[in-house]
Symmetry: C2
Subunit: 116 residues, 2 copies
DNA sequence: TGTAGATATTTACATGTGTCTATGTCTCTT
DNA sequence: AAGAGACATAGACACATGTAAATATCTACA
């Protein structure tokens, strides 16, 4: 168990962008999460999972939504998972990804929030 | 005057991520704005400008905040300007960038918003 | 046990990106 | 008009990234 903050933990730590200048460290971490969402395929994947019933979706559902190879979708899901935007759970043969709503909330607060 | 939507206009058009799947077009446009924020230097620049008094800052102030060359800062400001996150105004010898707060708000709503 | 199906990993490659140096443009001042 | 300062642009280069084909791993079931 490392003492390092994961990117998503760091996102939750700060005042909104517009309130005070982001520290170098906070910017470094938050930008990792934003970069993960800064790809059209990953943004749609995130939206597909988050808007799916129960906030989770099977990879089998996701592959069909794109005209991309299965390894490519797998790669994008891995990126979203690694920055903490998606949780991953294997159930039998299938793998389910679940959107971490609180992470999206924290990110939204960082970008547009009024509060401290 | 083109009929194409700029990225920031497109960001304001949609339900939140988690409400319904983002359309391919909406994702394409929103991801451009998110990608612009997905760099630590640009994120800090955006924060510096947005949190500066009056919501605007002179390039001369911004250059000193980084250990990067002046052209590099200029390049990042251009990226933020091109996606519509920063307005640009020349006053005499100086150039002022102004944060577009409503764009940040719309983006925050897209990511974490509860409303339609 | 062996075969089929779902997902991940590896490898490779073309393209994109962040940075710098050098140079250009514009504006004020002398 | 000529020089100086603020900012932008152009060009170059190392490195990151999105994608696909081939392959591996894991699980269920016959």
């Amino acid at each position: 168990m490392s003492l390092e903050l994961t990117p998503v933990q760091a996102v939750a730590c700060c005042s909104p962008l517009s309130r005070e200048p982001l520290s170098e460290e906070a910017a470094e971490q938050a930008s990792v999460v934003l970069k993960a969402l800064g790809d059209p395929v990953r943004l749609r994947l995130m939206s597909l999972v988050a808007s799916h019933e129960g906030g989770e979706a099977c990879v089998c559902d996701l592959n069909d939504a794109f005209e991309l190879s299965q390894p490519t979708i797998s790669h994008h899901l891995k990126v979203l998972h690694e920055v903490g935007l998606l949780d991953r759970e294997k159930r039998g043969v299938w793998v389910y990804y679940r959107a971490r709503a609180e992470v999206l909330q924290n990110l939204a607060s960082l970008i547009g929030g009024q509060a401290a």
